[in-house]
């Protein structure tokens, strides 16, 4: 389906909840919605017969400095189209509904985002750290992350050539 057609179709189906919709490079569409609309919108995108965005291809969290964002990449086998859904979250309370029940594959993606960015997913069955040790402090992919000096007695920093 052409990008302009898809944008028109999405505007018709999700009239009330769209905050922003625009074309992205690489034949993609960026759909921005509000935080509390995430679960209903993704349910519509997946369950709607005509849209059929059943494939959950990617999910990531971003630290934009003054706010966080969670981005979902979906794919529709029926249309052959990609869709990027973006939700902005407040800096002091990064929490969003989990879509693990809707897309089972989202389970580990959400755990990874929680692990590296500290974004909490409400309703996730097992929201624990995935890649880092469970007693690790801080969230490394945040822009204000400070590297720890040591972990259980192991030095994590060493002097490089540039800092004397």
């Amino acid at each position: 389906m052409k990008i302009s057609d898809l944008i028109a179709l999405l505007k018709e189906r999700l009239r009330d909840v769209i905050v922003g919709i625009e074309e992205m490079p690489n034949n993609d569409v960026m759909l921005e919605i509000k935080r509390h609309d995430l679960l209903p919108v993704l349910t519509t995108l997946k369950k709607d017969k005509e849209l059929g965005f059943i494939s959950f291809t990617n999910q990531l969290g971003v630290d934009y400095g003054d706010s966080f964002a969670v981005i979902y990449n979906l794919y529709s086998f029926a249309l052959g189209n990609k869709l990027t859904v973006k939700v902005f979250l407040e800096k002091d309370n990064p929490e969003v509904d989990s879509v693990e029940r809707l897309f089972r594959g989202a389970n580990w993606f959400e755990r990874e985002t929680y692990d590296l960015l500290g974004i909490r997913f409400k309703g996730h069955g097992n929201l624990e750290r995935l890649l880092l040790p469970s007693d690790w402090e801080g969230y490394p992919l945040r822009k204000d992350y400070v590297y720890p000096e040591e972990y259980h007695g192991m030095a994590l920093k060493r002097k490089t050539l540039f800092e004397e």
Binding site: P25, N26, N58, G105, W108, P140
Partner: protein
Amino acid sequence: MTEFLSDEMVLNMGPHHPSTHGVLRFILQTDGEMMRRAIPDVGFLHRGIEKIAELLPYQAFMPYTDRIDYLASICCNFGYALTVERLAQIEVPEKAEYLRVISAELTRIGSHFVGLGALLLDLGAVTPFVHALREREVYNDLMESLCGARLTHNYVRIGGVSYDEPPGFREKTRRFIDHIEYEFLDEFNELASFNTIFINRMKNVGVITAEDAIEHSLVGPNLRGSGVKHDIRKNDPYSIYNRFNFDIPVGHGKFGTMGDCYDRYWVRVEEVMESCRIIRQALELMPETGPVRTKLPRVFKPPKGEIYVRTECPRGEMGFYLISDGGKNPYRLKIRTGSFSAAAMIGEVSQGVMVADLVTIIGSFDVVAPEIDR
């Protein structure tokens, strides 16, 4: 209920188990030989590649992409270069496109040989593994003549490739794929694929339906093994893949149920043949001379924007989500890999199977641990 489950035992498998293909650990809840659950424990190889990307200029990150999936480094290079090129709208010379496709498909063959061989090795068949690695050695020599490295190639650059083909490269490559397609695969199939014991170990084990595969975000050969005809090279063509004539092999229950371990194995065998077809056509069409690299400014700054690009790696689609703020480093780079969702799936399909079948299931998904952890 718990008093009836008194035989339940919690066992640890890995992180240095020979059959887990790298540093990957499973916590098994077993009842005798039957397994109730296998919980994958990942993260032993987490190197923070996504964080490193934020600290380095665009070109300087290229060698790190080799280390995402060390068995298919060129495919990772390719995906990253393509992402930056699409965002900055850089044209790639014609010859570089062909060299990229040829090297990426050679890498797919080399990677599948390790995957197939290691699976057989896990099931106790040592000889096919040695045969597969013998052929991979020829591939290593080819890549060494092309870019000077045997494992982490770092061959693709943003805007092209690093070197032109060496003299005699086409002839050697043609001889290699002729040998693979007409001699080696027949020998390998006779030795291993159609062996009755092997078939019985593989068929009807770890069955995944097409719906389940899509639901759990499986990609690549694992998805196609369940009968879903989806390949990024066909469905969302990148580079020059739309110029070649090739098929997408899918699982159709060759010996057992559709989506079992044997289907995932057989899809890989057939993919090797399709890769040979692509390479043969690319060698015919590749121009004799021409530039292989676009000149970029020394301080390269792509425009502000966000992009998500998927490419087909040997372990399924590899997606790069790149956010650029107009600076010389990426603002955020997320790498989505095929093994990540496959590793999550292992925990789901391994409920109620025998302990020995878990090894089959892990091998059939062909997970590579550094690709899970990044």
